[in-house]
């Protein structure tokens, strides 16, 4: 049993964690009544995707993708004294990190706009609870 679990989950542990986080975030985004909580869910959802990407770029025993000042792969990595093909395995994949820098920035920007919308809604309606907002709108426009 333990061996089976290790085979299915152990090698993919990060991916399982990211799925759990993503499901939590998505659930909160859809089901929560409070708009701010919805946005928290959205942030968790986006962060889960960041975890996925960063997990893609990891290599076992590798160090951060910064070379030394002569352009060599840092010597403390495990594979430094072998050929260039293998030596590259001593440095983590930089591409997912670059992509996620973008995704983080996008997430922050979206969250900022969303919070400002929530604040504007609060200014106009006096509430950030979705059901109260719906009731308010219904009372304004009875025909929908």
């Amino acid at each position: 049993m333990a061996e089976f679990l290790w085979k299915t989950i152990g090698h993919h542990f990060n991916f399982w964690v990211y799925i759990v986080l993503l499901m939590l975030g998505l659930w909160a985004t859809i089901a929560k009544n409070n708009l701010v909580k919805k946005l928290m869910g959205l942030s968790i959802f986006q962060s889960a995707i960041i975890l996925l990407y960063v997990s893609i770029g990891t290599k076992e025993g590798a160090t951060i993708p910064i070379l030394d000042h002569h352009g060599h792969i840092p010597s403390e990595s495990h594979h430094a004294d072998v050929g260039p093909e293998i030596a590259a395995h001593g440095v983590a994949n930089p591409l997912p990190h670059v992509l996620m820098l973008t995704a983080i920035v996008v997430g922050v920007a979206t969250l900022g706009v969303a919070l400002s919308l929530v604040q504007a809604i609060y200014r106009d309606f006096g509430t950030v609870e979705e059901d109260e907002l719906l009731r308010e709108i219904k009372s304004l426009h009875p025909d929908g």
């Binding site: 399982w16 993503l22 998505l26 089901a31 670059v98 400002s116």
Partner: protein
């Protein structure tokens, strides 16, 4: 209740689809996975090219910086545009330009005194006054040293923005706006992207493609296109930092004062 049931169903379906895919994933940390090394029997992946060649091509030891600002510089420019668009969207949504009394506020109301005008501010204010220059110097270091260590325009820009936010938190928003006014930071945000785009545009006038920094060696008088790429990356990082700093502060200023740009907190 209904929303919760449907949400649960949607989430479970999504999770099941995601798990279905995970079964075929390469192992976590596998250096020979397609993303890290390329598909079996195919060409090596782009990331191997970055690790093995990018120092020769750009003379930047930090691979994340060279990929971010050069190989995928077009992405990064639009990443900065995303920030700029967010700043504008927040301005459009929240900013109230029709304030009835545009002059500086009279003395803060009684509740505000504890934060705003009284002796209790001394400790916080003094600490912030000491911390802010240090934060800013470190931010500039992070921007400038992004070639050799973790850092770059986004990180440094956020720190610079945070230093202005600290002014507002330690004192009040009016002090912060006196140092970095609304006109200034909205213009700085455009200026930052303009700097970035200019580094892309100049090569076009020299007969190369957009963002092909290598050709700038004629302007920077460097020995070889690699150093020109390295210098240009610093330039675009400065542009990024300007935009990020301005918009981070803009988001804070708008959200904390509900678009009034006075009082606040």
């Amino acid at each position: 209740m209904n929303a919760k049931v449907s949400a649960t169903i949607a989430v479970i379906i999504t999770g099941a689809v995601l798990l279905y895919g995970v079964a075929d994933f390469p192992d976590f940390g596998d250096p020979t996975s397609p993303a890290n090394a390329g598909v079996e029997g195919g060409a090596p992946s782009a990331s191997l090219h970055f690790i093995n060649e990018s120092y020769k091509e750009t003379k930047v030891p930090n691979l994340v910086t060279s990929v971010l600002a050069d190989y995928r510089g077009y992405d990064t420019m639009f990443e900065t545009v995303v920030i700029f668009a967010a700043g504008l969207a927040i301005f459009v949504i929240l900013r109230n330009l029709r304030s009835d009394d545009p002059l500086p506020e009279p003395l803060p109301a009684t509740e505000d005194r504890f934060i705003d005008g009284d002796h209790q501010r001394i400790i916080v204010g003094t600490t912030c006054r000491i911390a802010i220059p240090l934060v800013q110097i470190f931010a500039l270091y992070v921007v400038a040293h992004g070639h050799h260590s973790p850092g770059g325009g986004f990180q440094g820009g956020v720190m610079l923005g945070a230093s202005f936010i600290l002014v507002a938190l330690g004192g009040n928003l009016r002090d912060a706006l006196a140092r970095l006014g609304e006109d200034t930071f909205m213009r700085l945000a455009s200026l930052g992207i303009l700097i970035y785009a200019a580094f892309g545009l100049v090569p076009q006038f020299l007969g190369r493609n957009f963002l092909d920094y290598g050709v700038l060696e004629k302007i920077f008088l460097t020995d070889g296109p690699e150093m020109a790429r390295s210098h240009s990356m610093l330039g675009v990082e400065v542009g990024v930092a300007l935009t990020v700093m301005s918009i981070m502060f803009a988001i804070f200023a708008n959200l904390s004062s509900r678009g009034e740009m006075r009082g606040g907190l």
